[in-house]
Amino acid sequence: MIQLSYLDYLAIEGKSFFHRLSPGPKIIGMAIVLLGIVILRNLPGLILLYAILLTVFFLAHVPMKIFSLTLYPLIFAFLFIFISGFQIDFILLVFLKVLCGSTGVVLLLATTPYPLIFRVMGRFLPPIFVIALFLTYRSIFILLKILEETQHALYLRGGFQWRYPWRSLVNISNAFGHLIIKGIDASENMYESMMLRGFKNKIHYRGE
């Protein structure tokens, strides 16, 4: 999750051609990638698509550290191996489809700040939905800060130790409980601040 703030940093601070490109064409590009994933049913086509995405990934100077994120959905795709009866061609097909999708979205996120993506989404999604997306995005960073503080407290209380599994589970659960209560308190403060600033069910973008 710490990578979310790093992704955000990369998207804002990146200087490559892809970072400078406006979000519209990048989202259209992502839609084309998704179309390719849905339509392509042969290995050469998917290998080519993946190769293109990898080339763009490295041309956009996205650090290798972020590349591991693109491999994460393979965990879920792994289960489909059991459905197929271990057919290597089917497994490769599924893995490549999954990798193309995840590489595409991570590339989009690492080169485009979240608020700009939400802004494009706001053109065809209900406003309340886009506000909820923004508030969730903001909340994640508030929660990350609370979690960081809670981790210290958790460590001082013994953290997680195999010798004391029950106590460890209680510690972890209390940490999450603390996170939720602090989060709810922060959400109440956030609502009051929004009202004081004249919030009227609309997010205003810079330049509007």
Partner: protein, 252 residues
């Protein structure tokens, strides 16, 4: 070890990836998710929704954080959908799971095309968790068994829903298996060799039983662990902020 890796991430539920399910299925998922969202939003007043938006955002953030923070020694990712469902109620938890799936998909966790289906699966967990908690609380009047049973059963229901969704795509997987075998790995077999390889045909069939045999035992461990963690979280909240659980009406 890949098996251990799988076990760690999979125990409570599964986020379906892109490109695996048939088009009709994920389009259907979007349509149903939008319809359910529209129906549920009718139950909330607009002012009430505006007032609770920051809470919704915060709880969606908690679910995302829970799904992304690893409890290092046991490498488990908590789910927190049931506790969020209990705190938010059925209408808001649906919107929260929609938001969670969009952000997770943008983050590379789960697919974009399957946001609708993933939302339905995850919201089944949150909504059934809320309803079951209310039911068990009314019957048992004790927080620990009420939350544990609600979480365990809600996770079982959502895992079953996920298996149901995966099983709906059987004919599509068979098609992919056969098309895959005609791809770059195609070999022209001699006539006599065809009969010899008839036995392979059976192996090329989709095997849903094997899939279920892997998912359910791993899921069971996840439901237990998630049940314990959710119960402890609920007890913590009940101790410090009982008002959040809105239990007063039932007890009075």
């Amino acid at each position: 070890m890949p098996y251990a890796f799988l076990k760690e991430k999979l125990m409570s539920h599964l986020h379906l990836p892109d490109g695996v399910l048939p088009v009709w299925l994920w389009v259907f998922g979007f349509v149903v998710a939008i319809l359910v969202g529209a129906i549920l939003s009718r139950f909330i007043k607009k002012e009430d929704l505006t007032r609770r938006l920051p809470l919704l955002g915060m709880m969606a953030g908690v679910i995302i954080l829970g799904a992304s923070v690893e409890i290092v020694p046991i490498a488990y990712h908590v789910n927190l959908t049931v506790i969020s469902g209990i705190l938010l109620g059925p209408s808001l938890i649906f919107l929260a799971t929609f938001i969670v799936n969009i952000i997770l998909a943008l983050f590379g966790h789960g697919g974009i095309t399957v946001i609708g289906l993933n939302t339905l699966i995850l919201s089944i967990e949150g909504i059934s968790g809320y309803l079951l908690f209310r039911l068990f609380w009314n019957v048992l009047k004790r927080i620990t068994p009420a939350v544990f049973l609600a979480t365990f059963i809600a996770l079982f229901v959502s895992t079953s829903a996920m298996i149901g969704v995966v099983s709906l795509g059987i004919s599509h997987y068979e098609e992919l298996i056969h098309q895959g075998s005609k791809g770059v790995f195609e070999f022209k077999l001699l006539k006599e060799k065809v009969d010899q390889h008839e036995g392979d045909k059976e192996e090329r069939e989709v095997n849903l039983k094997r899939f279920i045999a892997v998912v359910l035992p791993l899921g069971f461990l996840g439901w237990l662990l998630e049940g314990v963690i959710t119960t402890l979280i609920a007890r913590y909240i009940h101790r410090l902020r009982p008002d959040l659980l809105r239990l007063e009406r039932e007890t009075s």
